[in-house]
């Protein structure tokens, strides 16, 4: 219960709620198998290592990757930073001749898009600052989709890296991965896919998408916080220098040098997020048993119901493409004359949890002419009744704040 009402949770784009099986998996691990993995020969350590690596296998299979192509990270943000710092280290000459393909310098270009979450923007800004490379971006059109004509001009022979989101966390737009990958391939650029908003909601096959790297977070896909993953093509990961260094990622060490393990261990320094990995695997089991096709169909229905309903509310502007367009089950809106923070407060009073603010995408909001918006994001557990309650409550916002919508109400 929230504020005297049953909770209507429409903030899964930020973080999802967890099934009992996920919480039990974490508890079972601590009760039955807790030990450090990849070290120690005692029975518990062996069992812990087994379940930890089984979790990797499950998560890899879930996105169509090979097991050793999944690197555990704290979240997607850390996964992108891992890439950026590995490339940064390659630019300093670390990793030897085979790492040169990741080395950046003056004249090289990193391309992102104007709709990126800050997590897929700032690490690249910083990488550009460290290496002297130039950061460019593919602009967004008025309707919130990527300007693909402009993309063909932005991506060119200087482009070394193209990083973009699979699905926008603000507009719900699903980007044309194949087209962008083809563009990058033409110039031999590496492709990084931010799959935070798609791996939890759609069937995603990284091999079919043919991206070089992809990142996602566990807590957005029914899993716990503190775990995410980097997918990288095996041959690329094999050539990358490490980011974090220390225990568990080396073969031989003397006082001046260290030799590193093969991926994924090379990128997993220190004691790992064992219980979280196991709980994330339980989340993946839950999603697989439900069927990602069914999840996608259900959320597409909720998404269409959302945008169709929003179009009926006077004074409410949907950010991004409207009904009919292929979209995720989320929608961000601007309510004329009422700040998003006030909209969110009004909804919270009715027990409805939504996200307000810029959703870590300030450039996109600026591009769409607003500083903040109110976002409702659904997941497999949401119902049409919840969407309807959100819509009905949102319709009461402007009258409460004394804003005239110009409609006869």
């Amino acid at each position: 219960m929230v504020n005297g009402h049953p909770l209507t949770y429409l903030d899964s784009g930020a973080t999802s709620q967890n099934p009992i099986s996920v919480m039990e998996a974490e508890q079972e691990y601590y009760e039955q198998r807790n030990a450090a993995v990849h070290r120690g020969a005692h029975t518990l350590a062996v069992e812990a290592t087994e379940v930890f690596e089984e979790a990797r296998e499950k998560v890899a299979a879930f996105i169509g990757a090979q097991t050793d192509e999944i690197v555990w990270t704290s979240n997607a943000t850390e996964a992108i930073n891992l890439l950026a710092y590995s490339f940064s280290n390659a630019s300093l000459g670390l990793g030897g001749p085979s790492a040169r393909r990741f080395s950046l310098g003056a004249g090289d270009e990193i391309v992102v898009t104007e709709m990126e979450h800050h997590a897929n923007l700032i690490p690249w800004q910083q990488l550009a600052l460290r290496t002297g490379a130039t950061l460019r971006f593919i602009p967004v059109l008025d309707d919130g989709t990527l300007d693909l004509l402009a993309a063909a001009d932005v991506v060119g022979s200087h482009t070394r890296l193209l990083a973009f989101t699979h699905g926008s966390n603000v507009t719900g737009t699903i980007n044309p991965v194949a087209e962008l990958v083809a563009l990058a391939r033409k110039f031999g650029a590496l492709v990084v896919l931010d799959a935070c908003q798609t791996v939890p909601h759609l069937p995603v096959d990284v091999k079919a998408l043919d991206v070089d790297f992809a990142v996602f977070s566990g807590h957005k896909m029914l899993g716990p916080t503190g775990i995410g993953a980097l997918y990288g093509k095996a041959d690329l990961l094999a050539d990358m220098p490490p980011f974090l260094t220390g225990g568990s990622m080396i073969t031989t060490v003397d006082m001046a040098h260290a030799e590193f393990l093969a991926p994924p261990q090379r990128f997993e320094a220190g004691t790992q997020r064992i219980s979280q990995a196991i709980a994330l695997a339980a989340a993946v089991d839950y999603l697989s048993e439900t069927g990602m096709d069914r999840v996608a169909v259900w959320e597409a229905q909720l998404g269409q119901r959302l945008v169709a309903g929003l179009a009926e509310i006077p004074g409410v502007r949907l950010l991004g493409p409207g009904a009919g367009a292929d979209r995720l089950g989320l929608a961000a809106v601007d309510v004329a004359g009422v700040h998003a923070h006030d909209v969110g407060q009004f909804l919270d009073d009715a027990g409805i949890a939504v996200r307000v603010g810029h959703h870590c995408a300030q450039p996109l909001h600026r591009r769409l002419g607003v500083t903040a918006s109110t976002r409702a994001s659904t997941y497999l557990y949401n119902t049409t009744d919840e969407v309807d309650l959100f819509l009905a409550t949102l319709a009461e916002v402007a009258p409460f704040f004394g804003v005239s919508t110009g409609a006869n109400r």
């Binding site: 504020n3 923070h341 307000v356 903040a372």
Partner: protein, 161 residues
């Protein structure tokens, strides 16, 4: 009155639209120079609420001799609480001396941070007492405090001139 109506009292909603004291800010260096010529110490502070992006820039003009807050001008954008707070601050603090203004600010802050335990004192706070409902919403206290924090910082700056 529901909690929500307590939070969004009519006076707050009115001030969020009326925006007393809001206006274009001339370049600061110009204003400082112009103020100095007429015996005023001018300073400003820009505050941002990183959780929601609310922004307020508040400019204070302080008498050189008598320590009076003679003028307050601000620009900003954000939620109704932050904008109404800037508007009410302007009405409340203009004309007070710095000691009075600081005492009022301290009272306002203490009331806001009390999680609803301290009833606002209308005698002291005037219209700013309307923010009493905000103190039950810890996430919104920053919104109401934003212009007051800007005032506090600008005042210190003006006094250093």
């Amino acid at each position: 009155m529901s909690d929500l109506q307590q939070l969004y009292q009519t006076i707050i909603l009115e001030h969020s639209k009326a925006r007393h004291g809001a206006g274009e800010l001339t370049p600061l260096a110009e204003a400082v120079e112009l103020g100095a010529a007429s015996g005023l110490r001018v300073a400003e502070s820009h505050q941002i609420n990183t959780t929601c992006g609310d922004e307020v820039t508040l400019r204070v003009s302080l008498g050189s001799d008598d320590e009076t807050v003679t003028e307050l001008v601000w620009t900003g954008e954000g939620c109704s609480i932050s904008q109404a707070s800037a508007s009410i601050l302007t009405d409340t603090l203009r004309g007070l001396n710095t000691t009075e203004a600081r005492a009022l600010l301290d009272n306002f802050r203490e009331m806001l941070r009390s999680r609803g335990k301290i009833e606002p004192d209308e005698e002291i706070l005037g219209d700013a007492a309307a923010f009493g409902g905000v103190s039950r919403y810890p996430a919104r206290v920053k919104c109401a405090m934003l212009p007051w924090v800007a005032f506090e910082a600008a005042l210190i700056e003006a006094e250093s001139h």
